[in-house]
């Protein structure tokens, strides 16, 4: 009897346990919360949303490291490293940039890793579009081709950025599952193929102003061909753009009358816009990661109204470049023979008269300098807006600075440094014209080349592109007078100009025009490298500029090394299998 009760009890208990155990099958199944799986996105709408997500990667943010490390403007890698600007701020702030600026950085410099990761994140998102588009069944072939073309355009962009930074980089596409890929293959043809596909499959009009059309693809294809030195192939592409190119809203490409319109969010996405990264302010993200966060350091310091952080100070060399001769033409070789008078070492409280020599007005949209209207923020007060003149000179950046009158709409002060809704131009039409000029000049069509250059110079000389004094210096918001802020003289090259008489000097003029027009826009380093003149130009720069500031002491550009940045050590390490890196380090590192 007793035994029976034991057995019954034990059996009941075991049964209960087993019962509970089988219930546990469902009990232990928990759903995925707050996320989706790939299958749910395999519709036209899902693929489009993935595409929007790919555009969102253009800002280079949220991949770790400081926002500036992966800035899509390449202000560090394209401009600071090429003598457009000093790092700025003071010696101890972001010292890895000092090393980049002086050609001394090594593969462990974390900045390169951030840049690398930002671009591959973009590629990963583009690949997701391509992968999921294949699964989606509700799309017409045309729609699929268009979405695919946009994704390939964006992928091409990210690879282009990697290619010019690091040269040899691994190719990852929508079929790749092993991410440890070697970087032994030259990916130019693949980048070309992506842009070609986009050029062939996209239409004149894009579904939204922020999306790319066939002409953006054409421009990027042309740029790719230029980087590959395929000038002959590039010419027809550029010719087609000049003839028929339209922006994403279907407006024919042209140069805006007002140079500043390219940097003023009130006039964004205009006829000069070929491919721009859309930026926002106060869009409800709680931070500035979608608001030009990569430029957050690049505002005047001291008692300026911006708060952060005094980086990205134009160089004396760059400012001198804007001097013009009596004919309104630049000094291609001797621009440094005279210094545009500056206030290095002069207190803001000490009187200062500005330079009276002839200047290209683009200077005063590019560099903030003492006594000249700093947009509508008042005349630049000089030293007190500069963090350390001895370290990085007397100038302040300007293209990335928002206007006071529209600051409530276009600036974002939610973070410790300003964000803004100023779009980033990856390619604008002036760039296209200068690239076209270069291709033509290389092919010997010097007159055509000069025509393109002159379009750019003519715009620079338009009254709308000049900087004027304030009506009232104490109230800059009260508007501008009709008095020019400086002695602006800028003219196109005259017919029969000797400069465009030879290919060599024409190219020199075109190169110089790129310096002037696109200064501080992150291009110059990559231009100098592809032109093959980086070692000589940078040597001249370091010698000249180091008389003014201490930040670039010891700067060098070592040929056969500094043309490309090192493959990030972190990525070399992560690519290892069995202790051997799959990636190969660039020459010289």
């Amino acid at each position: 009897m007793k035994k029976a009760r034991y057995i019954i009890t034990l059996s009941l208990f075991s049964l209960a346990s087993i019962g509970l155990d089988s219930c546990s099958k469902n009990f232990l199944d928990k759903p995925l919360l707050g996320n989706l799986t790939e299958d749910v996105l395999a519709t036209e709408k899902g693929v489009t949303t993935l595409l929007i997500g790919t555009y969102a990667a253009l800002d280079g943010q949220n991949v770790g490291g400081g926002t500036w490390e992966s800035s899509p403007t390449n202000w560090i890698y394209g401009s600071v490293a090429a003598g457009d600007a000093h790092k700025g701020s003071d010696a101890g702030d972001q010292p890895p940039i000092n090393l980049i600026a002086t050609g001394k950085s090594d593969p462990t410099n974390g900045f390169f890793n951030a840049k690398w990761r930002a671009n591959y994140e973009g590629i990963s998102r583009a690949n997701a579009v391509l992968r999921v588009a294949e699964k989606a069944t509700d799309m017409s072939p045309e729609t699929k081709a268009k979405l695919t073309a946009e994704a390939r355009f964006l992928r091409g962009h990210f690879y282009f950025d990697l290619k010019k930074m690091f040269n040899m980089v691994p190719w990852i596409d929508e079929t790749t599952t092993e991410f440890k890929q070697p970087n032994t293959e030259d990916i130019w043809p693949k980048i070309e193929a992506d842009f070609q596909y986009a050029y062939d499959n996209l239409g004149d009009n894009a579904p939204a102003i922020g999306r790319v059309n066939k002409w953006a693809a054409a421009a990027y294809l042309g740029k790719t061909l230029l980087f590959e030195k395929k000038f002959g192939e590039a010419i027809p592409v550029f010719t087609a753009i000049v003839a028929n190119g339209k922006n994403s809203a279907g407006v024919k490409y042209g140069l805006t009358d007002r140079f500043e319109d390219n940097f003023d969010p009130a006039n964004k996405n205009n006829k000069e816009t070929v491919f721009a990264v859309q930026m926002v302010a106060k869009a409800g993200t709680g931070d500035i990661s979608s608001g030009n966060a990569g430029e957050m350091l690049n505002f005047p310091y001291g008692d300026s109204p911006f708060g952060c952080c005094g980086f990205y100070q134009p160089t004396v060399d760059l400012v001198n470049s804007y001097r013009t001769d009596a004919d309104g033409l630049p000094f291609l070789d001797t621009y440094n023979s005279e210094v545009v008078k500056h206030d290095q070492g002069v207190e803001s409280s000490t009187a200062f008269t500005t330079y009276t020599g002839r200047l290209d007005p683009r200077l005063d949209w590019t560099a903030g300098r003492r006594g000249i209207p700093y947009k509508d923020w008042g005349n630049h007060p000089g030293k007190k807006w500069i963090r350390d003149q001895n370290f990085a000179g007397p100038y302040a950046p300007k293209k990335n600075v928002y206007w006071q009158v529209t600051q409530d709409k276009f600036s974002d002060r939610i973070s410790w440094a300003p964000g803004s809704a100023i779009n980033i131009h990856v390619i604008r039409y002036a760039d296209v014209l200068l690239m076209a000029a270069e291709a033509e000049a290389q092919a010997g069509s010097l007159a055509t080349a000069m025509g393109y250059v002159n379009q750019v110079r003519e715009r620079a000389g338009k009254p709308e592109s000049m900087v004027y004094k304030y009506n009232d210096d104490t109230d800059p918001l009260a508007g501008f007078s009709t008095d020019l802020a400086a002695n602006y003289v800028v003219e196109p090259y005259p017919a029969g100009s000797a400069v465009f008489a030879s290919k060599e000097s024409a190219l020199k003029a075109i190169y110089f025009e790129r310096k002037l027009e696109l200064a501080m826009e992150g291009h110059r380093y990559f231009d100098l490298v592809r032109w093959g003149i980086a070692p000589t130009e940078m040597a001249k720069f370091f010698t000249y500029e180091s008389q003014w500031t201490s930040d670039i002491d010891g700067g060098t550009f070592t040929a056969n090394k500094n043309e490309y940045y090192p493959i990030p050590q972190a990525q070399m390490d992560l690519s290892s299998t069995g202790g051997v890196p799959t990636l190969t380090q660039n020459q010289g590192y």
Partner: protein, 1084 residues
């Protein structure tokens, strides 16, 4: 490990001794004796005295004496009495025996709660530390974990002075790269959080350290298990009150030794001079603040920059600041005027003030055969010494049990807590303590109109005013409450069975709100105003069912337990924020009262666990002990292939002292050897979604302004994570060997354990190559780690003279950790870049211990250019490259790094520079009682620990941002005359060879010994009290953290707070605070 070696050497010797025994043939006779017992050694009347192995027995008389016939020299007397431990004594040749009985409850027979059941302490076979709760409760700290520091061998706890900051709690070092916090089991209910449990409610606390003890908790055992039992009522109704009130004093001295304003200016001049000298130039002294002279002069005003008295620019009528400005247009018109504080502001003194602390506990309890009850309430209120910090807690507890039949018990344990504790960030460069050394002393706290002053103007660095920052948080709130407990029923049936079911868990909610004020006084101001709120709620229930079978078959004692457990946990979180408020009045701000952009986010998660488990405890005559546990866990976190994990463990014990051959060793009261081996699991590091490859949208990173609106975003998606459906349990294979000994009637007690545990299949999310994109990498079972260590507890209890009693308990904790494997193709991972831009300070690498510091080792200074030239020559020879340099940025006066013999300094020259893991830590409790007085002291120390003093980056290097600098920079930096300096040359250039890369300059010895607690009490013994019904009245005075002996130069060598990836890195810690208290214990 020297200590390990020592024990290994001693142990065999000890064993040899124990095996010695003697035997003599003898004839029958009688023997007399006296039996006393208890701490007061009163005679024990009525004790049974029996000749072992016979039926011959007698009892003691009123004087405790006895006489028994029929013994011989080999006889053993067994003396027993209710409430006392049974005492065995060999007769030997004596005819007069005196026996001293030890009270039962204080000793080995006490019942110890272990996994799902209880055991007599003497029968334990696992490594279980029974914490002395009374000693622990003497620490004036709000949480059990704070109080536990140094009280239990094998447990490492690091606390922080920041009110409410949970301590870092580790049992036996590291078990995983991720969360190392143990499982707490409170009255049978598992939980991860005991911060809101009132320490005064704790009756007992056991720490299960090895697999033998902990493995029955299976998947959650790997980090160790802490078992807590709360108090229950017994006897007649009793009310007691325990409380204290006191004051807390910050350090009187600013430890950072910062320069005064004039010295700051002199340092700047020195930097300009040295920098110019590099290029053989004359320095240009032109400074907006300090003038143009050969010696700097202090200005009367720092705003407008560098102005002197009488300057029209400092006319107060120009002043215009609206502190609570709402729009940028107003801000742009500000005209600030701030006088220089030429005598210097002591920012540490400005942010730290003495603050009160108080604690009150009231407790009502009682019980009888029908049941028992306990009700307690407590209030704890600690103001922080740092401005606007505090921690307030209110708790209620109700424990009751109803014995409804002789064999049926039903009861509940329930606690409710409310915590008001807005916590602050510590240990980063932006916290208040950091700002106190980063802010220059020339900056006053307030400007000429009483608004905040700061670095605005651009020449004083970019520190923020810490007083302003703290005061602006005054109306921030952080509020949490939790209901925690269980209801249970126990039924004894079929004589040997007990069935127990317990349903319990927690329901919690927390909320916080904070307002971000726009600032105007700093160099880098945030101009936005915004108001944020967050809240979270969650519940977890645990249903546990067990059946226990207990039976003795003669000398064989068996206890078998089988059970099931189901756990379901859910939580959700909400957060929102709105900008642009018309008024900043805290009573006005809500999400909807702001006019600007609104942002919100939420998340939720859900986890389930289902388990079957069993244990068998067996002993033969209490002498040979064995235990076996087995658990099978299923978890919702794992994919279908690996949902279940099985965790077995076995343990053996041998009470050597019960062996006949040991009976001659009268000095040895008890000796037990123990050993165990088993597998424990861990799944903490896995998120509930980790088995899925996910796509997600995220406002900050996947939304895009595709329509070019400048102010709005459209939704996009990206891959959020790579899933790993094949992830499985981490397994921690742990081996433990130990012994417990009691010698000479508790004059000396020792318990020691040596363990080796190897964690394999450790879940790690190896960084994917950048080519995989930024989607979160999956957790995979790749890593392996080994930890070995030694835990020792030593105690001594003795009476030196009449009325004088001494109690000493020491704990010793030591462990060695080695990472065996991280992942295929990845042999290290790093963290903590701080100001080194991606060059991380902490490196976890195969073959090294967790969380080691990594960087260049400084071997001296470059004293002459010739040294540099020679080194460069060497580098050229080494590399064969004509342009090679030995060390980037090498220059006279800068650091020379160790090249590890390579002939050139490259990233490969970096080396391990120490770690924050102590060689050992120790605690020492001293107790002295003399008549009505009692004194207790508790010392805690750690030894062989290194701290990464990141504060020095800011204070000792001139180019590390303008800011407060140290006397070291000014007076002990390299100069052509002073080659024997501490800091490098003062110059206006950051360099690889000074401050821009992690190097050994920051590594300091962080060993310390601290008097954590000193308490002197007096218990009133008076007839009048008895009449008033007062059974106990004790007063005490107490001092906490009275002194600390250390060579560490920072605020406090105990770097509490921070996360597991950053511990040991000091960038301004919230220091432990001296506390002086008066307390009262009262019982009716």
């Amino acid at each position: 490990m020297q200590v390990t070696r020592l024990v290994c050497r001693v142990l065999p010797t000890l064993c040899m001794l124990l095996f010695l025994s003697f035997a003599f043939a003898q004839t029958k006779r009688s023997v007399s004796g006296k039996v006393v017992g208890g701490t007061d050694k009163k005679p024990v009347a009525g004790a049974t005295v029996q000749i072992k192995g016979t039926r011959t027995a007698t009892s003691t008389d009123g004087e405790g004496t006895f006489t028994i016939q029929g013994v011989d020299d080999k006889s053993v007397l067994v003396i027993s009495y209710v409430g006392f431990q049974t005492y065995e004594i060999p007769v030997g040749s004596t005819s007069n025996i005196s026996a001293e009985l030890k009270p039962m409850d204080a000793l080995m027979s006490e019942l110890v709660v272990v996994g799902y059941t209880s055991q007599r302490k003497k029968d334990l076979t696992g490594a279980v530390t029974v914490v002395n709760v009374a000693d622990m409760n003497k620490q004036p700290a709000p949480t059990i974990t704070d109080q536990l520091q140094g009280q239990a061998a094998g447990v490492t706890i690091t606390t922080s002075g920041s009110p409410g900051e949970p301590p870092r709690f580790r049992i036996r070092g590291f078990n995983t790269f991720g969360d190392n916090s143990p499982l707490f089991v409170v009255d049978g209910v598992p939980t991860g959080n005991i911060n809101d449990i009132n320490p005064n409610d704790i009756a007992s606390m056991q720490i299960l350290k090895d697999a033998g003890a902990a493995s029955i908790y299976g998947a959650r055992a790997s980090n160790g298990v802490v078992i807590l039992t709360t108090k229950r009522g017994k006897g007649k109704a009793k009310i007691s009150y325990d409380g204290y009130y006191g004051t807390q004093n910050p350090n009187s001295k600013n430890p950072y030794e910062l320069l005064n304003p004039q010295e700051q200016a002199d340092l700047k001049w020195l930097a300009l001079k040295n920098t110019a000298a590099r290029t053989n130039e004359q320095p240009v002294y032109a400074d907006a603040l300090y003038g143009n002279g050969a010696t700097p002069r202090l200005p009367d005003y720092i705003l407008p920059l560098g102005k002197m008295e009488g300057d029209p620019a400092v006319d107060p009528s120009l002043y215009y600041v609206v502190p609570n400005y709402g729009d940028l247009a107003t801000y742009n018109k500000f005209y600030r005027i701030t006088k220089a504080n030429k005598s210097g502001t002591d920012w540490m003194d400005e942010i730290f003030d003495p603050a009160p602390i108080q604690s009150h506990n009231i407790n009502v309890s009682g019980g009888n055969d029908q049941g028992n009850y306990l009700f307690s309430a407590s209030y704890f209120d600690q103001k922080g010494t740092l401005l606007e910090t505090y921690n307030k807690r209110f708790t209620l507890r109700s424990n009751s049990q109803y014995n409804i039949r002789k064999n049926i018990r039903i009861g509940e344990n329930l606690s409710y807590s409310i915590i008001d504790n807005p916590r602050i960030t510590i240990l980063d460069e932006g916290n208040a303590v950091s700002m106190a050394y980063r802010q220059q002393p020339i900056v006053p706290v307030y400007d000429i109109m009483g608004n905040y002053a700061g670095t605005f103007g651009g020449q004083l660095g970019q520190a923020t005013n810490p007083v302003a920052a703290r005061q602006r948080t005054a109306s921030n709130k952080g509020f949490g409450n939790r209901l925690f407990g269980n209801a249970y029923a126990e039924v004894d049936f079929l004589k040997n069975f007990t069935f127990r079911t317990s349903f319990g868990g927690e329901y919690y909610a927390f909320s916080g709100r904070w307002f971000n004020y726009p600032t105007y006084e700093n160099a880098e101001n945030g101009n936005a105003n915004s108001y944020s709120e967050n809240s979270g709620t969650g519940y977890e229930w645990t249903w546990t069912n067990t059946v226990t079978y207990t039976k003795s078959f003669g000398d064989h004692n068996v206890k078998i337990l089988a059970g099931t457990e189901a756990i379901n946990s859910n939580n959700q979180y909400l957060e929102g924020n709105t900008t642009d408020y018309f008024s900043f009045d805290p009573d006005y701000t809500t999400w909807e009262s702001g006019s600007g952009t609104a942002t919100h986010r939420s998340s939720r998660s859900s986890v389930a666990l289902y388990s079957l488990f069993g244990r068998v405890d067996y002993n033969y005559k209490g002498k040979y002990l064995a235990g076996f546990t087995l658990r099978r866990d299923g978890s919702s976190k794992f994919g279908p292939e690996n949902k279940y994990g099985v965790f077995p463990a076995g343990s053996l014990g041998w009470r050597v002292s019960d062996e006949n051959f040991m009976k001659g060793l009268t000095w040895l009261d008890d000796l037990k050897l123990r050993g165990s081996y088993g597998i424990m699991g861990n799944q903490l590091n896995l998120s509930p979604n980790s088995q899925f490859t996910t796509y997600r949208s995220d406002r900050n990173s996947t939304f895009y302004d595709i329509n070019g609106t400048s102010n709005s975003l459209l939704m996009g998606f990206r891959q959020g994570a790579y899933g790993n459906p094949n992830a499985k349990w981490e397994s921690d294979a742990a081996f433990n060997i130990g012994f417990d000994a009691t010698i000479k009637n508790r004059l000396f007690e020792i318990s020691a354990d040596y363990y080796v545990k190897q964690v394999y299949d450790m879940l790690f999310n190896p960084t994917l190559p950048g080519t995989a994109g930024a989607a979160a990498p999956p957790y995979v079972n790749v890593a392996e780690m080994r930890t070995s260590g030694l835990d020792i507890t030593v105690g001594s209890h003795f009476d030196v003279a009449k009325d004088w009693q001494f109690d000493i308990t020491g704990t010793f904790t030591s462990f060695n950790n080695e990472i065996l494997k991280i992942a295929e193709g990845q042999d290290y991972f790093t963290s903590q870049s701080r100001r080194f831009n991606g060059q991380d300070i902490i490196r976890n690498e195969e073959g090294h211990e967790m969380s080691s510091y990594y960087g260049y080792k400084i071997v001296g200074f470059w004293n002459t250019q010739a040294e540099i030239d020679a080194a460069n020559e060497l580098a050229r020879k080494t590399t064969g490259s004509a342009t090679a340099v030995y060390q980037t940025d090498a220059a006279v006066g800068r650091f020379r790094y160790d090249d590890k013999g390579a002939g050139i300094v490259t990233p490969d020259s970096r080396q391990f520079l120490g770690s924050p893991n102590p060689d050992f830590s120790y605690g020492l409790n001293l107790g002295v009682a003399y008549k009505a007085f009692d004194l207790s002291a508790f010392f805690y120390g750690v030894s062989g620990v290194e701290i990464w003093n990141q504060v020095r980056w800011w204070t000792d290097f001139y180019p590390s941002f303008a800011g407060g600098k140290s006397k070291t920079a000014m007076y002990n930096s390299w100069t052509p005359e002073n080659h024997n300096a501490k800091a490098p040359i003062v110059e206006n250039a950051a360099s690889f060879s000074t401050n821009s890369t992690p190097n050994s300059y920051y590594v300091e010895d962080g060993s310390y010994l601290r008097l954590k607690n000193l308490q002197i009490g007096y218990t009133l013994n008076h007839k009048a009290l008895d009449k008033a019904g007062i059974s106990r009245l004790r007063f005490y005075v107490q001092a906490a953290n009275l002194f600390t002996i250390t060579k560490y130069t920072g605020l406090d060598p105990e770097i509490g707070g921070g996360d597991s990836g950053s511990f040991g890195v000091d960038e301004g810690a919230y220091p432990a605070i001296k506390q002086f208290l008066f307390g009262l214990n009262l019982s009716f």
